[in-house]
Assembly symmetry: D2
Homo-oligomer: 360 residues x 4
């Protein structure tokens, strides 16, 4: 079931709309005894926060998280998880008062407007309501809790392509990621993207992006075949992020163009389990982690909100056109990057606990 | 949870190993009153069955399905579902007696051998055990039940690329699919693929493939945001198929290279809901179907079983090498095609019922 | 899974501790279009609220609920559910600052103190933390939402026995329930109970109670055999209420003392479905509602918090004794009555939607 | 969801009808490496098997179980679980060919006939179809697997009352259970019951029963508050058994008649955790096991199938009457006893794994 719940053992239930009073997540199933306070969560939210550069939406949200339950201060003065549900709340602050009458009446192509009305017969049209990417703030907050469950894992997420302009892998350095507003590991590409995204922003247009995410330190054995495979759960998690249209594990589509010989990941004896001589598989075989880095890539479509007029229909089915005014990300993939990382953390933490349940 | 259960309302639980006595599926949550007998299921299994051409494994399995529960013959003499669980069983017939000592001792790269041992400490190594693609016969059988739930939907699945050689869309005709052993809509491509796959087969090598699946007739409104989105569930379903490494919805990765203007799917008034002027979105917006055809594409890696020696380690961690002898599909994507269609049917049927639960 | 989630289609996830900043529930899967505002929920919370008579705890909590998401004001000015998760929050106000050092160190027999420490190694000992009956406020709030889903059903819940003193069924009148602080349908019994509970309260002792709950208007056909039977789900729901130790459906234990002839519920033709001549079954057969009133009875143990010293051990396993000072309900069954009704509403609403999913 | 699936981590999905070709269970989530063959399961099925004395139905079913998947013979020659789903099948043998036309047309009061038709519009009326207690054979088979997961636990289940005639606790000896056909620990009561049940059988009548089940060796810490409490899950599991109408944990209804002082379970220092001086709670506090024996009691109604004519209606709503001929248990509680034990095993095994998931 679980319309708004994600996960099997470590479960996050999110709630909230773009322009309601607040949004939040309830994280259930978290092991007890983990040091957790707002300070552990806030930095991840800050990474996703809007308005931090001119390349993101100018909506100003502090995204300050409150932990409302599930932790308790032990005698050592440290706030720790108690094993009970962790309620996280983020108040909406900058719901700019504006005129929504246009969006209320006509459907923005590429947005969920028409689909929500078709399904529910009714929708909160202010800023996209529940379908707004603002909901992903709750995922990032919950993802911060998930990270505590998997201290052995390091997750890197970065943008490898914007508007069809890819990084040069030979020039990539993860240390660069924090040095530019694009989570870009290639300093040269970051410069080109600044121009590219600026042009799109000024033109009221938008661009797509490809985000790569790698998890190091995942031991062999996570993943539950055959319908809770690690890669299947990752694919579902990533495709569920707003604006995502494709997911690859390891070589992904490229693997379909290799021969069996080229695609093999030979194994040699290693110090601690096998040493793989390649990682076409992206660290997962038969739905179970192999101990290699878990690699996935995610395609974000260009932001659907654009200033150009697009043909559409109104609620009554009449032809009209719509321009999406207001504050928008010219490239949602950028701010989607921390969300990709959060979903990776949630899936891995869930599977760590899931494996513990069955295999001890 | 649900290691071996797929679905939310319409749930399939599969069981069985490649070389055990049988395999099967229990389909639960199926609406009552649907006409169902073995005759409804067998044709779909026959489409996936091995040994039907020289381009697939020569294991000879009749894959004859038995319906053991969940149906009852009404007074009209028609066998119908009763709303109780439908147990489907397929006996394994051609578990060729062979020597598994090599596979028992060494890990086949690209296969789940090492991962299963790392997880469970123990595995049924005969033919891959539970990780064998033979398990997908159960999915196809369950998918045939799912199709009864969604008579309004037509699902087409076909191969669009083998070994990097793509079809010519201009030359594609769905009527061609049944005329060649590749589910190929382009007769010219089918001829080239015959040569390509033959060469790979003779060389003991293997090839990857890309399969496309389109569902026509899906009404607007299926999909449950935000963690049971239709596209997220499809992505998980497809990535969970053996050998799949990537999934796209609509334009997929290509969407990341379009601008917002190019990617828009303008709407015009139509006879019955909106008429969309494009379908970059692949029929899904905000995780909910829009009434357009639902489109996904799936990448299959080349079969991991190849005749060439690959470096590997044995159970004790020592260096060795392995050649995978025996009967194998030179291109698993071919026989994966009916499985893709079955998973599409299962996801759509599940979401139809899920939508009915919440939205009546 | 679902440690803190209840329900299958209509799902409530609750969070919060007795002495944290707030507690709440997220209700997911609710159909769209139902008129819902705080005003629909508050009366039910008021019925459960502490401090309304001398027979309940004197903790003063307004239990004012806020709806933080999931509703939207339509053009008719009415707040309606949108089909997205409904987040309900109740702030804790009267967490009296007191010395918890005794409870922190020693385990109160009958309470969850020892069990929580044994499980989690750590607990929020202030007022019982998550194990406090205060959590049931969230259930009552969510139950108010569930009631909107089943307008065809009327739920009556009332106390039929306190401290072993039962009502006289011949003297019972549901109209009396609101006239006394015990939800007692027998005015005479209510008078006796006033004395009984007063004595227990003054003595620092406590009493048990039996609550009966009847749902009228449930149509035939709700319940999903064989592991989501309506009676099984009710039993789980009721037994999960704090201090509940037993659940009966229909005649319950008494049915075990009847013969098959005595226990039969003969059917006669009725105006609208069958007319049953008895209801030993409590409205459920084979786990499915029959159209008769659904009847269950629930036993509450006496409040575990008593003023008398009880032998116990401290965290280090040493012998000690404990008296539970502070504000407590002398008979938790009284305030448990609206909780029983809320759980009945949640189970029925869930099964209405569940039935709709499978049977249309 | 999970109409026909029971459990959270250790999940059993059962299928099959009384008069179909077979019935079975798929047990998923079982830890790998446990020694399991038919020989581990068959004795439990034999205990439940019909036709073993004149006090049970004379239907002759060998109830021979087959393990179709999920185990593999290791190099030590022992069949062990592999962590994959375990498919168990029991063929129906003695589906006596008889005339079902009466049952097909009229509804047997107390049976699920009318409810199934009201829900599904259609039913397999042969022997009750899916609603037959024959389905519990699958639970007993799955319960045998569950027992392997909890070797530290010993489960005793026995009948304490038939037709209102209770055992004398002072005269009870668990060693007696196997010495009479009633699972009765009191030899004197067993003699009286022989007469009682014989009379009922000869009169074509039936009797109810109360079954008690005690699990020894459950450690403190199993149970997941607040909606997967151990007692709530037990209550749901027990109430879901055919013919069960009530469930008590510990003192159950009697607890509602005690004062807080009487109901306390004082703790003293023990060798290995606390030593409790009483067990009114039945081994569970706050939904979590305390390390004391887990105690529950279950009330079975008298078998609904009786030879006397009972007023009923037919499918078209017309008045008629029905006598239930054929082979029936005069007291279903007797054969229900191994089912109660099986459900106890399933719940405890599930919670052991569930606890391991969250608390390591």
């Amino acid at each position: 079931m679980s319309w708004n719940t994600f996960g099997r053992v470590l479960r996050m239930t999110t709630w909230g709309e773009s322009h309601g009073p607040a949004l939040g997540a309830v994280v259930d199933g978290c092991p007890p005894g983990l040091a957790l306070s707002e300070a552990e969560i806030q930095p991840w939210l800050d990474a996703r926060r809007p308005g931090t550069s001119r390349f993101t939406t100018q909506r100003r949200e502090p995204d300050a998280v409150r932990v409302l339950s599930g932790t308790f201060e032990g005698q050592d003065g440290i706030q720790r998880t108690t094993g009970t549900p962790i309620s996280l709340m983020i108040e909406n602050v900058d719901q700019r008062s504006k005129d929504y009458s246009e969006v209320a009446k006509a459907y923005r192509p590429g947005h969920a407007d028409y689909a929500y009305d078709a399904k529910y017969g009714f929708r909160d049209y202010r800023g996209g309501g529940r379908s707004s990417a603002r909901e992903t703030a709750a995922r990032v907050a919950a993802g911060a809790v998930a990270r505590l469950v998997i201290p052995e894992v390091r997750i890197d997420a970065y943008v490898v392509e914007i508007g069809g302009d890819a990084i040069d892998r030979a020039n990539a350095d993860l240390a660069e990621i924090g040095n530019n507003p694009f989570w870009c590991p290639d300093a040269e590409a970051a410069k080109r993207w600044a121009t590219l995204v600026d042009e799109a922003r000024k033109a009221g247009s938008s661009l797509g992006a490809v985000v790569e995410c790698v998890a190091h330190g995942v031991p062999a054995g996570w993943g539950a075949p055959v319908y809770a495979k690690l890669d299947a759960d990752l694919a579902g998690a990533m495709m569920g992020i707003n604006a995502v249209k494709a997911v690859e594990i390891g070589d992904g589509f490229e693997a379909a163009r290799l021969t069996g010989e080229q695609n093999a990941d030979p194994m040699r004896p290693g110090d601690d389990g096998p040493r793989f001589e390649a990682n076409h598989a992206g660290g997962i075989a038969g739905g179970i982690s192999t101990g290699q880095p878990v690699v996935c890539r995610v395609a974000f479509k260009p932001t659907s909100s654009i200033l150009s007029a697009v043909e559409t229909i109104d609620k009554d089915g009449n032809a009209t056109e719509i321009r999406t005014k207001g504050r928008h990300d010219p490239c949602v993939g950028i701010r989607g990057t921390p969300v990709v990382a959060a979903m990776m953390a949630l899936v891995l933490a869930d599977h760590k606990l899931l494996d513990r349940a069955q295999c001890g």
